[in-house]
Point group: C2
Chain length 147, copies 2
DNA sequence: ATGCAACTGTTGCTTACGCAACAATTATAA
DNA sequence: TTATAATTGTTGCGTAAGCAACAGTTGCAT
């Protein structure tokens, strides 16, 4: 039962370093998940994106402001809800996405070397359940309005 | 093949949030791995610790300076190598460690709910290999002195 | 309809951390 | 020995990201 979280954190940081080395000039590592989420489903709100990738909404707001300034995304107010900003990828981002995907694919390939498909399937299944549990924990952790 | 890194990053952040909520006042989340490593094997050098937990040595230096200022660790020059600083836990830190371990244990228990021991064993085994691969990747990534 | 709660996004503050440059020490090679 | 390279730690700089506080909007209850 010990120290799997340590491994997890290490892997996370290594990937970040790898990504930055490969694509740093174009897109900083931390924004990769974000832009992939945006392209997978254009027109989502910032809040939706924040919950999806489990980052504080303020971080998403700042990341998107930066990405918008660089011309990677556009934000349009939701006509049905003036609170929301819907986020869309620009052409510039869409052109970049293949290389983002390719860097991710390269990382995934290298990092799963020596692991059988069966093992990997179990690994992913467990990982997803852990993610679900982790999300639940931090949700319940929010200041429960006492009664 | 898909998006396991996303889960990994999410779990990482959730744990950090959980730890901070539980022990934030005493010890910020990012330093947990560090103090555990220090207590597991007192007297290691900063560089050794940095490589162990795979954080940039500058981060370790700053974290230790902060921990030292708070009275959690002591750094003594290595008599055999004047470049090195050896890091030791103080009494104050040793008293705190049980609660750090207990928070970690609580997290591990909650997060692995609904996962059988067999699955978890495979999960950890795969995770360790991925960690090893990840470390290798970032090592080789260092500017290879082109002969 | 009015007031209160929830949702959505932004901003200020703080901390974490990576990279590069540097200083000091040690190791290696000539 | 002496010059060069490698270790080890520190510092400056930039970015990421969490939390709290806030403002504007919407939903809901009465």
């Amino acid at each position: 039962m010990p120290k799997f979280m340590k491994s997890l954190n290490i892997i996370s940081r290594c990937q970040s370093s790898f990504r930055n080395a490969k694509l740093g000039s174009e897109l900083c590592s931390a924004h990769h998940s974000l832009v992939l989420a945006i392209c997978r489903e254009p027109g989502r709100s910032q809040d939706d994106l924040a919950k999806d990738i489990c980052i504080d909404k303020s971080g998403v707001a700042r990341a998107l402001a930066s990405l918008e300034a660089k011309g990677f995304v556009e934000r349009k107010p939701d006509p049905n809800n003036k609170r929301k900003l819907l986020v869309f990828p620009t052409e510039k981002l869409l052109e970049l996405i293949p290389s983002v995907r390719s860097v991710t694919a390269e990382w995934n390939r290298m990092v799963s070397e020596g692991i059988s498909e069966e093992e990997f399937a179990v690994f992913q299944s467990v990982l997803f359940r852990i993610e679900k549990n982790a999300r639940k924990i931090v949700d319940n952790q929010e200041v429960t309005p006492e009664k």
